[in-house]
Symmetry: C2
Subunit: 434 residues, 2 copies
């Protein structure tokens, strides 16, 4: 590649799928990548560009002229084209649209640029095959032939009335099996699921999963057919959602990846580390009040870690289970009370086991009975309190419309730590007669 030996390169690349070339591109400098992409067939180049991760794509495309970009975008599905253009500076975006050879494509893109990325309108593509309800199969097939090149995966033909309002759909299977003269009217499926442009992406994902749909049509408030969302875009929504929830629980804001810049990673991580630090400082101030007690019974300090970690672990376990059942909307809502009772039952068993073991350990290493009692009753209380917090916090955040995953992890852990130390030192002060 360094010698830009294009003949060898072409031969080497011919056996590969576009998705495989993508993997190789990530290893390259943007100049090399540009050279490589331009060597390939425009159609394959377009597929590769559509497939790249946004940050890398933005990097690579800095070296492309607007003419080059428009040549590829011309072959994109409209939804992918909009994604790519949204990453570009506004000047490049406008130049590319102006340069597009396919004027219909340009119109599609201008339509789609209105929508936010995270609603149905922002996920949909304009490419689809539609048929008027009054047509017969022959006309349908004719239309399909016309659209065949633009619409990569057909799934179904959408049936509309004269005002472009969506009436139903017709699967390809039915078209294959029907007679040429059959009217669309008499065989199309009127029982179908659609979404409006303003529906949030996650709702669309849930709907398509629930009803096992390959594609869902998108309509405006008047019921006019505007586009469709295909399952492959939804798979991306699902994986992104899952990974950003996991990151949120780990105390990382935004969609950060390992190969992002150091600065970007720091930005994403520092805020929650500071939350933890504030918690730590508060804990320090708080334990400071009991310095006198610690001077008398220094062994108390030894159990600070187990109080903190048990509270933290129980809290994270509990909130993860609640988060999971919030995400899985197939079950119906159970009441808060029912949830708390169940959580408390689990907490009782876990708490008893842990505090009994620690109690035994304390007696074994020869600590005073009183101290052992303080530590174990503090542990039991902490398990209960952490279960309570872990149940209530995500439910409350969810009710308030905040993504419960975002604030659950570090927030709950910090709160549990503080509550735990409070209980521990409070009990100690009372029971040890300090």
């Amino acid at each position: 590649i360094e010698k830009q030996d294009s003949a060898t390169l072409k031969i080497e690349m011919e056996g590969l799928y576009p998705a495989d070339v993508t993997g190789i591109l990530y290893e390259m400098e943007s100049q090399e990548a540009r050279y490589l992409i331009n060597q390939l067939d425009t159609k394959i180049g377009a597929e590769i560009l559509a497939d790249l991760d946004p940050p890398e794509r933005r990097e690579f495309l800095k070296n492309f002229t607007s003419e080059e970009i428009s040549r590829y975008v011309n072959l994109f599905d409209s939804d992918d084209a909009v994604d790519l253009l949204n990453e570009q500076p506004i000047r490049v975006r406008e130049e590319v649209i102006a340069l597009l050879e396919d004027r219909e494509q340009a119109r599609f893109i201008l339509d789609l640029l209105h929508y936010d990325e995270d609603v149905a309108g922002g996920l949909m593509q304009k490419e689809l095959v539609k048929a008027n309800v009054n047509w017969n199969m022959n006309q349908c097939i004719e239309e399909l032939r016309k659209q065949a090149e633009d619409v990569e995966k057909v799934y179904a033909v959408y049936v509309v009335d004269d005002h472009e309002r969506l009436l139903g759909l017709l699967s390809l299977k039915k078209i294959v099996l029907a007679h040429k003269n059959t009217k669309v009217e008499s065989i199309y499926d009127q029982d179908f699921i659609f979404v409006e442009t303003y529906r949030p992406a996650e709702e669309v994902a849930e709907l398509m999963q629930r009803y096992d749909l390959d594609a869902v049509p998108v309509v405006n408030v008047q019921g006019k057919l505007l586009g469709r969302i295909t399952i492959d875009d939804i798979v991306d929504v699902i994986t992104e959602q899952a990974s950003s929830d996991t990151l949120a629980m780990a105390g990382i804001t935004g969609d950060v990846e390992e190969d992002d810049t150091v600065w970007r990673q720091t930005q994403a991580r520092l805020p929650w580390l500071l939350v933890g630090m504030m918690g730590g400082i508060l804990a320090a101030k708080f334990i400071g009040f009991f310095e006198g007690d610690l001077k008398i019974v220094p062994a108390m300090a030894a159990f600070i870690p187990i109080i903190g970690s048990t509270g933290g672990n129980v809290g994270i376990q509990t909130s993860s289970i609640i988060l999971q059942s919030l995400a899985d909307k197939s079950g119906l809502d159970t009441g808060v009370w029912q949830r708390l009772i169940r959580m408390f039952a689990v907490a009782l068993i876990n708490g008893l086991i842990i505090s009994l073991i620690v109690f035994g350990f304390n007696l074994l290493i020869g600590n005073e009975l009183q101290l052992a009692l303080v530590v174990s009753s503090a542990l039991l209380s902490v398990v209960f309190l952490a279960s309570f917090m872990g149940t209530v916090t995500p439910l409350a955040l969810d009710k308030l419309g905040i993504n419960p995953a975002v604030a659950s992890g570090p927030f709950i852990t910090t709160a549990n730590d503080l509550i735990g130390y409070g209980v521990y030192f409070g009990l100690a002060h009372l029971l040890l007669d300090l």
Copy 2:
């Protein structure tokens, strides 16, 4: 429903999709559920049963006779049938298979029962439409007509030779657009992706996501076409994977849900809580060694929590980012060294900021300069060590073939806590001249 007023019930249910009825069923006792399902059209009942979550389904089906079950399973896709049967006791399983009216279905099921759930063979369904390479379109359409009822979503017709070996595929779009007398041979797509029966489910999921496939054919080692895996099954694999990874990171083993029994939840949660407890006991023993120091400088105890929580938070953040990039295989592997250098750069910035703030706080509240120095240098070291552990542990587990998510959360946190206390007290002992 309690009055078993079947007429009203039918009317109420008629407007609903099967997936909606499923939601209602979760609220019912199994006797009621059986009554309701048996009231519905067998086809709709079958769809509902195929859609239920395994634990609820097992519960409900306890009240069904084998005859009833077989009536529904008769209408299942073969992959769903196998899933249902695998949940039943072996006697019920055999009875149901023996009672199946559709003998082809019974044969399909017996074939599929051989495979593990988590490989391609266990995900595939036998229902598909195949065409011999020597046929023409008319024969293809005839075959499609025959299979139309059994195969819910066709996507593509698979092209095989006389020995049932998979040669390629033919999209429905091509069939619609082709002439009736065109030979399959001349238009089918020879460039296609397939999987072998033994491929792990996650690999299939990754493949289908990467190449945006709706369905992928499954072959045996001789290349003989055995079945296909459709995208809706893969969407389930992806969501299950994501949720079980999240649970694993939170220290929960196995696929537990909020409405599982208290005992089941305890089993899933207690092991990791015990790991945390062992860590806490070790920490207690360890801090015990420094009891003398604490007697002299009790203020030291106040900073135990911030050391522990900072180490824990940094460790979880770091390992989550590494886990994410291990899961996202589209990028190519970066070396361990490169990863560590990047992690250390982030750790340096975060660690310096946090330790400087804490240093300021310590001077502000009038703690001794020496203690402030000890705390802040311990914090900085802990941030580095936790970053190192958070990077290396998941990479090592992944190399060893253990799911890195399983052991990352609680394991790393516990290890980081211990290392942190070690550094803190070690530094204190040295610098405070105790």
